[in-house]
Symmetry: C2
Subunit: 192 residues, 2 copies
């Protein structure tokens, strides 16, 4: 019995690549086993179950994304940081659609709380230091930015903007301009 050298680590990495190839929702223990030329049951020594595998891929993607974002915003501030940060999300979604979908996967609260998701929120908050926002507006803004990045990536990956003018690239740039303007001019009082 030739040992292939499976490990949780290798399964997760391969799962992430598989997700980029065929789509995250199609990643399955069976398919992964096939890739390793191994029987399905063998995976179950390394991951608890199919759900566990997907969760691990999601956590992996969140880490990878957070690492890239951290790199991107290092030494930048203000709009510069905002754009660099936002582009990490967008590029990740384009280069690694499967992993990006994995990163958007719904995690149960405890798992989410222990994930790199909190780093994402912290970095978003750090970017807002370049703008004059006090609590609770900073939190509102963090949530707005999260919604936009999440939502845009999701719609774009669903092909929402693909066959219409102007192209998605331009819209993305202009949305970042708009968000920058909004953050510099955040409405303190509800404007009736």
């Amino acid at each position: 019995m030739a040992r292939v050298g499976l490990s949780t680590e290798r399964l997760v990495r391969a799962g992430a690549e598989l997700a980029d190839e065929i789509g995250f929702e199609l990643v399955t223990a069976s398919e992964l086993a096939r890739r390793f030329d191994v029987k399905v049951a063998s995976l179950y020594s390394h991951v608890k179950n199919s759900q566990d595998l997907k969760t691990r891929i999601s956590l992996f993607a969140l880490e990878e994304l957070a690492d890239r974002a951290a790199d991107a915003i290092a030494g930048r501030a203000g709009k510069d940081a905002l754009v660099a940060f936002a582009n990490v999300y967008r590029d990740y979604g384009r280069d690694h659609p499967g992993r990006a979908a994995a990163a958007r996967m719904r995690l149960d609260p405890e798992t989410a709380a222990a994930s790199a998701g909190v780093r994402h929120a912290q970095m978003t908050r750090a970017i807002l230091r370049g703008y004059d926002l006090t609590e609770p507006d900073a939190t509102h803004a963090v949530r707005l930015l999260g919604s936009v990045f999440h939502g845009y990536a999701s719609l774009e990956s669903a092909g929402g903007f693909s066959h219409s003018a102007p192209d998605s690239e331009e819209t993305w740039t202009r949305i970042l301009d708009a968000l920058d303007a909004l953050l510099r001019n955040w409405p303190t009082e509800p404007t009736p």
Copy 2:
């Protein structure tokens, strides 16, 4: 053999309710058959396959949502219309999480083009008539609003804002204030 009176229509409606109860991703032909106390194979006279069922539920949700949105914005303009429109999405996500998830389901391009999704885009554009946006900025803004509504509903349904202050309700209100301010003051030139 007691005839239950299945039809595509009834299956889709029941599927939508089922989605709200157990989550859209758990809606399955088998489960639906169980609800109707009918054998699974019987469903296949009414829907092509499992994917077809889910697509139909998604289209149903998109229609329902578009109808509600149309009601909400009738006779309103400006921020009033924006808020009413946005709240339809938010309320739908809270009252019908399964259908809302269905509405966010990825459809293939032709199906999407023939869906109520286009009505959503048209209504969004109609709301922007209350603001002074010319093309291509109007399109950018439509995409931004779509991203925010989509993203916020998605994050909220994943529990993203549930156990932290300030509460989601307040953030939502403030985000709408911010979007209104942004639309009234959309940056024409990139601000470096």
